[in-house]
């Protein structure tokens, strides 16, 4: 039996007296995509940062491909783009590639710029990009080392409608190409559309899990509304 790509067992995270996450257990297989849905403060971003290796859990274990945490397997896009405004789009990608030890960083940067349709603006500084363009560049940055698992923390925030649909389309393409991800979002419809499994996170715990045929926007919306009612 092969190990799942990601295995979380009884993850708990406390900040002093405040417990942000409680007993989170989760398996994510190769090629699987999971949405984490929940209100502000539910602990979704904290969970993503623990998986990324940016925060340590207070308790519990985390395995990637059956071994201890390996940053090479993770591509992370947080609330911010992680880009340097003074560097050009191409330089940002070359820098990220060098950080991750990617062979031939310039070639990989050019490849990603083409995939994200950013080649025409490759020599422009990232600080002058629109939010949509910066987000596409940020996704390219997260994928620069071909990670097995992408962590996407509310990637649609601040985007206009065309940029949202373009990003959704891009994520679907990546999923069809076998990319695994954990996606944090507030948007029910997108959580249902973009993932194989949706987890509703409330007060640091997984309250509901929907997968397969039961994961429809309508079903998820109803269950999410009920869960929020129960919480309040």
């Amino acid at each position: 039996m092969t190990s799942p790509l990601l295995r979380l067992k009884d993850i708990e995270k406390a900040y002093g007296p405040i417990t942000a996450l409680r007993n989170i257990s989760l398996d994510l297989d190769h090629g699987e995509t999971i949405s984490l849905l929940g209100p502000n403060g539910a602990g979704k971003s904290t969970l993503l940062r623990i998986v990324a290796g940016l925060a340590a859990p207070t308790r519990g274990t985390l395995e990637i491909q059956g071994t201890a945490h390996d940053r090479r397997a993770i591509g992370y896009l947080g609330h911010a783009t992680l880009l340097y405004p003074e560097l050009t789009a191409r330089e940002n990608l070359i820098f990220a590639a060098r950080l991750h030890g990617v062979p031939k960083p310039a070639r990989r940067a050019d490849q990603l710029l083409e995939e994200e349709d950013l080649s025409p603006v490759a020599q422009r500084r990232a600080g002058g990009f629109s939010r949509g363009m910066a987000q596409r560049l940020a996704i390219a940055r997260a994928r620069v080392h071909k990670p097995s698992l992408l962590l996407l923390d509310e990637p649609f925030t601040g985007l206009d409608v065309p940029a949202i649909s373009r990003l959704s389309q891009r994520l679907i393409e990546l999923r069809n190409a076998g990319q695994s991800w954990l996606l944090v979002t507030h948007e029910v419809e997108r959580a249902a559309m973009l993932a194989d499994t949706a987890l509703i996170v409330l007060r640091g715990q997984v309250a509901e899990r929907l997968t397969g045929g039961e994961l429809t926007p309508q079903n998820l919306s109803e269950i999410y509304a009920k869960a929020l009612d129960l919480q309040s």
């Binding site: 390996d70 090479r72 911010a80 992680l82 003074e86 560097l87 950080l99 500084r125």
Partner: protein
């Protein structure tokens, strides 16, 4: 090592384009030189020559604190610091890259500040330039080693501008002691005193090792 070189390249390119940090550090250290000049009760050449080493290092220290604070504050924009923390391999290499960039930028500011001191205080550094450069480089290595570590620790706190000098200044007492003593001897034409070199090399070594190893833990939340 590639991580350190990538970060060094990135820091120098961004500074070259923004030109924020070096200009602020330079203005601050030159202003310090000017203010001290007018604040001194006795401006006779022999008094100025005696006081120059201490005042020079005070100006260098102020510039260093300003530059070190900015060095990591820039990484907070767009959460770029998380991008660095996600790099695989030891985080000590991140420290080395940042410290090397801080060293180069501070050295540039120090050279230009020394010119300002020569102008205002009427001291002649030319006869002892090489020895002086050696003392300054040794001391700057210590400042940038421990300073880069402490700046990274302070950057995520609410009071980072205040916290860095509070943490850094006590740690720099031995560096400053060796630097001022060495500068004084060099300017008096006595060469570099062995005791200063010894002190600075030992402190540099300790701070480099502690910072390289300690950086592994301070980028985590």
């Amino acid at each position: 090592m590639n991580i350190a070189l990538a970060i060094l390249w990135k820091d120098l390119v961004t500074e070259w384009r923004a030109r924020e940090r070096v200009i602020a550090m330079l203005l601050f250290s030159i202003l310090t030189a000017v203010i001290f000049y007018f604040a001194l009760p006795d401006q006779r050449p022999e008094t100025l020559r005696t006081l120059t080493p201490g005042l020079l290092w005070t100006a260098y220290l102020f510039a260093a604190i300003l530059g070190l604070n900015r060095s990591f504050a820039l990484e907070l924009e767009n959460e770029a610091l998380s991008g660095l923390a996600l790099a695989p391999g030891g985080r000590g290499w991140i420290f080395l890259g940042k410290a090397a960039a801080n060293f180069i930028l501070l050295s540039l500011v120090q050279a230009l500040t020394a010119l300002a001191f020569a102008l205002f205080y009427g001291v002649d550094f030319s006869s002892s330039a090489l020895n002086l450069a050696a003392v300054i480089m040794l001391a700057t290595l210590g400042i940038c080693s421990v300073g880069t570590l402490l700046a990274a620790m302070a950057v995520r706190t609410r009071l980072r501008e205040v916290l860095l000098p509070i943490l850094l200044l006590p740690a720099l007492v031995p560096v400053l002691s060796g630097a001022v003593h060495g500068t004084l001897s060099v300017m008096a034409g006595e060469g570099i005193p062995f005791s200063s070199v010894q002190l600075l090399i030992v402190i540099d070594g300790i701070y480099l090792v502690i910072s390289f190893l300690g950086f592994e833990y301070i980028l985590d939340e």
